[in-house]
């Protein structure tokens, strides 16, 4: 159901590098997941609202009041690479 090309496409969108064996395995695993979805698609669901959330809660809102931010040194301490005041990353255009 899911072919090699589709697996590679999804892998690229997810920035995953797969070996040939893994591509093969993923094609099988993803196909079985989609098979499950197809089983659901076979049910008569007319008039059933799509479930976007499993809890019946809405409007969990926050007042627009500032809260303390992190100290910059703390924030930057988690970065693999940094400058004096910023996160250093490979250029997305390189």
């Amino acid at each position: 159901m899911i072919d090699r090309e589709q697996v590679l496409h999804v892998a690229r969108l997810a920035r995953l590098q797969l070996t040939d064996d893994e591509v093969e395995r993923m094609a099988g695993e993803l196909s079985s997941i989609l098979g499950h979805i197809e089983t659901i698609s076979g049910l008569d669901l007319d008039g059933v609202e799509p479930t976007s959330h499993v809890v019946e809660v809405s409007n969990a809102l926050r007042p627009d009041v500032p809260r303390p931010s992190l100290d910059r040194e703390v924030a930057l301490s988690q970065a693999p690479a940094r400058t004096a005041d910023g996160f250093l990353v490979p250029s997305p255009q390189a």
Binding site: R15, P68, R72, Q78
Partner: protein
């Protein structure tokens, strides 16, 4: 398609406005502009594992106000989605946005229909660095996450715009509307208003939509107009030379006027949206609607319409006042003074505004009462227009009462009395050749005589009255 076919542009606009909240969309970090990098960041807006977003109630409120201002249908239930793509300005690997259940659907502003208005979070700011010091070929970038997570409203129009000029004018109308709503600073230089244009062309008369390109992130209205012009010209050239327009994302360089492709097509628009599991739905209550409605003021388009239809102002004068809330407010306070004629009031508020640069007349030394009194002096012919302008200059500089200024400066008009008649007689005597031309029926030659009278009366004479006296004295 051949060379003699006329093409028309079909343009839809996508506008991002940063909402004027105190804190970010999903966390309590303060909004900022120009602060040192990475000081308004927290686990939520840095996308650290285990952190959870919580929606800013004020952002929903401002979103509803925008929807009301453009006449949208406000969704009773609305949810957020994850828009998945990788870019370093987006720390989570996805942007929290809205997809099939946006906050506001439909609407119209001016003659352009609104498709939808939805809420999302802004990306961080990337600065490209590298060996070469140039953007292309640079090998690393620095991320400042201060802006990341700023609440944005994305306003999407229907493809109703037919020219670059219309795009610029409509965007200006939108900007003025949003500014008066108070939902955003709408400052293009600071990036609180940003615009993308979806552009296609079609033979005039065709009703179908053809392949469109997306012109990204133009940061001034002038660039938008020029960018659209350049892209429309590019597409017409492609089609006329037998080619096909490719759907792609483009960048307009205002310096070189060149258009370049931004992203490869295969990766674009494969965002794998799915409902954001970390946020529960928004259900709009009657209280939320009431609160939003209470904050929506009379908007520029409605106000201009009212000035034109009920006060008799020209469309241009009405728009000029309505587009600036402070001018409109001042104009209305002048009208509140007894029996001021609206058209004259509009003219003189405009005269005043021109003397104040961008300043608010309410903060000037000219009281609305003083301007009304100046207009009264003029309409009763106690002073002429030139004198009125001099009085206004004095009012702007020093404030005070127009009548007192007129008396102190001797600016009062010379009426139909002997003084003016004598001045006219002297002017005719001094310009016998001009008098001769007038007698021969050439009234246009009267200039030197009026000039003479004005000089003799220090500009206090009424031009119409002088003309009348000249004709009378020449027996015409």
């Amino acid at each position: 398609m051949s060379a003699d076919v006329e093409y028309e542009p079909v343009i839809g606009l996508e506008i991002h406005v940063q909402l004027k909240t105190r804190t970010k969309m999903f966390c309590g970090c303060e909004l900022s502009f120009g602060d040192p990098p990475n000081i308004h960041v927290c686990p939520v807006c840095l996308g650290l594992p285990g952190s959870l977003p919580v929606v800013n109630a004020r952002a929903i409120h401002l979103g509803l106000m925008i929807g009301m201002a453009v006449g949208s249908e406000l969704a009773p239930r609305s949810i957020f989605h994850r828009k998945n793509y990788f870019y370093p300005d987006l720390p989570k690997g996805y942007q929290i946005s809205q997809f099939d259940l946006p906050l506001c659907l439909g609407g119209k502003l001016g003659d352009v229909r609104i498709h939808r208005v939805h809420l999302e979070e802004d990306a961080a700011k990337l600065t490209h660095v590298g060996e070469s010091g140039r953007i292309h070929g640079s090998d690393s970038s620095i991320v400042d996450y201060n802006r990341g997570g700023t609440p944005l409203a994305e306003i999407v129009t229907e493809p109703d715009v037919r020219s670059a000029e219309q795009a610029r004018e409509w965007l200006n109308m939108l900007r003025v509307t949003l500014r008066q709503l108070g939902v955003s600073d709408v400052n293009m230089e600071e990036g609180s208003l940003r615009c993308d244009a979806n552009i296609s062309i079609r033979p005039v008369g065709d009703t179908e939509l053809h392949t469109k390109t997306e012109l990204k992130n133009m940061n001034s209205f002038r660039y938008i107009e020029r960018g659209i012009h350049a892209e429309v010209a590019r597409q017409i050239e492609i089609v006329r030379s037998g080619g096909k327009v490719q759907g792609e994302t483009l960048h307009f360089d205002p310096r070189t006027e060149r258009i370049t492709s931004l992203r490869s097509k295969e990766e674009a628009h494969d965002y794998r949206y799915f409902p954001e599991p970390d946020l529960v739905p928004i259900t709009i209550s009657a209280e939320m609607l009431d609160a939003a409605r209470a904050e929506v003021p009379e908007l520029p388009t409605a106000r201009a319409e009212r000035y034109a239809s009920t006060l008799g102002l020209s469309d241009d004068a009405a728009k000029l006042l309505a587009d600036r809330a402070e001018l409109a407010a001042y104009f209305e306070s002048v009208l509140e003074v007894d029996s001021v004629e609206p058209v004259a009031a509009a003219n003189w508020v405009t005269e005043l505004a021109a003397r104040l640069d961008e300043g608010d007349p309410a903060g000037s030394k000219v009281e609305p009462r003083a301007l009304a009194s100046l207009i009264g002096l003029l309409s009763s012919k106690a002073i002429n227009v030139g004198a009125a302008r001099q009085v206004l200059d004095r009012l702007v500089a020093e404030g005070g009462d127009p009548l007192a200024i007129v008396e102190a400066e001797g600016l009062g008009a010379i009426g139909g009395g002997d003084e003016l008649a004598d001045a006219v007689a002297a002017a005719i005597a001094a310009n016998p050749d001009v008098a001769e031309k007038i007698r021969d029926g050439n009234m246009k030659a009267i200039g030197p005589i009026i000039g003479h009278v004005m000089k003799a009366t220090k500009g206090r004479a009424d031009g119409g009255e002088v003309t009348r006296l000249v004709r009378q004295q020449l027996g015409l």
